[in-house]
Symmetry: C2
Subunit: 454 residues, 2 copies
């Protein structure tokens, strides 16, 4: 049977698969920083060449931003696969124990890991699929399905080119079902298919008080300090019970069905382990909700960045002209990103002192997603994962946003099977990101099984 041969080939070829992944990881394709535009081009070119090498008709496709990579090949079940080749910024760089773009294998207490920015999010995950295809081609001479591989390079920077590209290439990209590999194992052990995802809306605020920076001795007590205004407003973003105070924020939030809630309650979630791993013990967020509700079905507001005044070494008694913050909202159910953005901005403006002004800068928005698990690809994937990992795969929710899944649905009418092999300990947006070697290896094997089952 060819699946067994393919799995054997994957095991045999693991060192070469890693060598290829390391080439990919050594390209600093940070999409949020224009200084790395050429690196993003390089990563796209590298990926297209790899795909061509295993029989895809692949090309780098220009956009007004970072390019897309699209490859077509094979016959059979008509699927699209999505992963992204761009990565998060690496600051604070001084907290990395090894250079983020010099990938290495490290022995740790929990096994061997691949250490690099993008190891887990998302180059390592993307390559699990590519290497599974490679093994199929090596063993059988052809791809096991009619595959469209689609990779973008702006996932970490709001995907500004994605919607126009999907619209312009709708026919080419609309397949029977999509697979997205950008998620993780449930509780770091159970293979999982995420069937609902929170959406996201990002906004940036700049509050301006005096038109120039002032000396706090000469002006303190008379001139309004924009940091005071900003902390006053953002300090009131949540009430004591953790509820977001923007008017109407909860209007379109729905409770999960009793069945789904029962499924989630049956999952073996440990708040103590989950928070303990990051040095915390008390759940934040809304009082009176279970942990999985807080993470999967309740919306949130987070301040992702704040800055203003003097932030260097020593002290400067400045009363600054401007103060800034980046804020994101995780959205659920029918919450509309544009409506929430408007409500948030109105709420900020209403609290602004007469003398101050505020400017806003939008940073993307995508609604939450829920998928129809009736499509046979869900059951096929569930069985393949269960076989590979030796335990029943779970249908889960997800706290993070995979906006592309929403656009596949809204623009192309295509449901997505979201599965992946990351772990919470991967530190995907933090220093010292890693991907377990087991995740990479069993990830490749999982895709071989899924492709066989389709």
């Amino acid at each position: 049977m060819s699946l067994d041969a393919v799995l054997a080939r994957i095991d045999q070829d693991l060192d070469d698969s890693l060598a290829r992944l390391f080439e990919f990881l050594s390209i600093p394709s940070i999409s949020t920083d224009p200084a790395h535009n050429a690196d993003c081009d390089r990563a796209a070119g590298w990926l297209a060449a790899e795909l061509s090498g295993i029989g895809f008709d692949a090309a780098v496709r220009p956009t007004p931003g970072r390019p897309m990579v699209v490859g077509h090949g094979g016959e059979g079940a008509d699927i699209l696969f999505y992963g992204h080749y761009d990565v998060q910024p690496v600051d604070p760089l001084e907290l990395w124990n090894s250079p983020p773009f010099e990938p290495r294998i490290e022995d740790t207490e929990t096994g061997k890991v691949i250490r690099a920015r993008g190891a887990s999010d998302d180059k390592g995950q993307l390559m699990t699929f590519v290497e599974a295809c490679r093994a199929w081609v090596a063993v059988t001479g052809s791809l096991p399905a009619k595959i469209t591989l689609f990779s973008e390079g702006e996932e970490e920077s709001g995907s500004p080119s994605l919607i126009p590209f999907l619209k312009e290439n709708a026919e080419e990209l609309t397949r029977d079902i999509a697979f997205i590999c950008d998620t993780g194992l449930y509780a770091d052990r159970v293979p999982a298919i995420a069937t609902q995802l929170r959406g996201m809306m990002g906004d940036e605020i700049t509050v301006t008080g005096p038109k120039v920076d002032l000396h706090s001795g000469s002006y303190g007590g008379m001139a309004m300090n924009p940091i005071r205004v900003l902390t006053r407003i953002l300090g009131g973003l949540h009430d004591d019970a953790g509820r977001v105070q923007v008017p109407g924020f909860y209007d379109d939030v729905e409770e999960p069905s009793a069945d789904l809630l029962a499924d989630w309650n049956g999952l073996d979630f440990s708040t103590e382990e989950f928070l303990g791993a990051v040095g915390l013990s008390v759940p934040a967020g809304e009082a009176g909700r279970s942990a999985l509700e807080r993470l999967w079905s309740r919306p949130t507001a987070e301040i992702n960045g704040i800055w203003g005044g003097y932030t260097g070494a020593g002290f400067k008694t400045v009363l600054p002209s401007k103060a800034h913050a980046k804020i994101s909202f995780r959205l659920v159910a029918a919450q509309d990103p544009d409506r929430i953005r408007d409500s948030f901005r109105d709420w900020v403006r209403a609290q602004l002192p007469e003398d101050c002004t505020v400017d806003f800068h939008a940073h993307g928005g995508a609604p939450a997603s829920r998928f129809d698990t009736g499509h046979p690809a869900f059951a096929a994937t569930r069985k393949a994962l269960s076989d590979e990992w030796g335990m029943e795969a779970a249908y889960t929710g997800m706290g993070g946003s995979i906006p592309v899944a929403g656009y596949f649905k809204s623009i192309l009418g295509m449901d997505s099977v979201l599965t992946g092999f990351g772990r919470d300990s991967d530190a995907i947006h933090s220093p010292n990101e890693k991907y377990d070697l087991e995740s990479f290896h069993k990830g490749i094997r999982s895709w071989a099984r899924i492709l066989a089952a389709l």
Copy 2:
């Protein structure tokens, strides 16, 4: 009469005086940034050499931090003069219209100005005294008083070496009266002697939540965000009426005497002009207080800097491990910096969620100062200033801190006459700092007259 000859000499020598000041201004002696330690040494050496050149017995005196400069010379009235040779940082550098350490004369709508970091605070002011001494020596062959000139290089970074140096050299530095030139004209026109100054206490907070930066999708709703904690606490630093909410903050605050308040109310202060010049119109600070009370006799709390999370271009959905702020309090009357620091820290700790920790880093503290205007140097200075500027000099308060004045009193038992020639428009802690050429010229002439009157 030799005063007239000295004044004539000052007028004649102005271009050379400017050339010397420009040499001094071109040394980037930023004391708060260790990268500029060698520049501070260079500035101290330059000043000592200038003093030696006009007959002072001057030397650079080492400390554990930046060095002091002390010079002695002359016979007669026994005075100390103080100015500082260090300057503020220059960020944000991109807002400067010319390089901060390439001094130049610019024509502006309000006359010629000297443009450079330190032009007004405090190299330009310090040099008004040095140039007055030079003119006296040139005309009469000797200094007009028994002068101890004392300059430090840590005024902009909390003066960590000042107290030990004053204690170790108390006998050498304790003179009959001190003159400090680090202040400005009242309302940009009236020559002024500041007889009371607010004190200052600076503190830095770091709030830690999770032990690493997290992804706000994966952890938002469960993990506490330290920026949320910090904004919540600092957003409550003032109530709606602008009163500082730290318990006991106002315990040692006193009302100014009815006489002094009447003097202040008689000054021609325009809130519209003062705030209008910086693009504001509504007084911040405590409701129900006059502008000069808010600036001179009421304490304040200001957030001078805040930072945490992702602050670069684009967006990063991080839930950070740490959030930071620099906060300063302007103190009045008998408010004790150490007691206020303790109260502030207790107040912060009391609001901290169970899961978060807070670290504090002290950035200096000095109580408010008030001087005994009965000493004859006050009347002599007032008359000299009135003669030079053609209008009656005023006794004023000051919103900023000149901690050295407090230490001269508490450690050396010496009162200080604070006078100077800066203007509010000098932008002393901001980009594009300037000192009016008129301030420099008439400042030198003012000191010549004060020295003659002693």
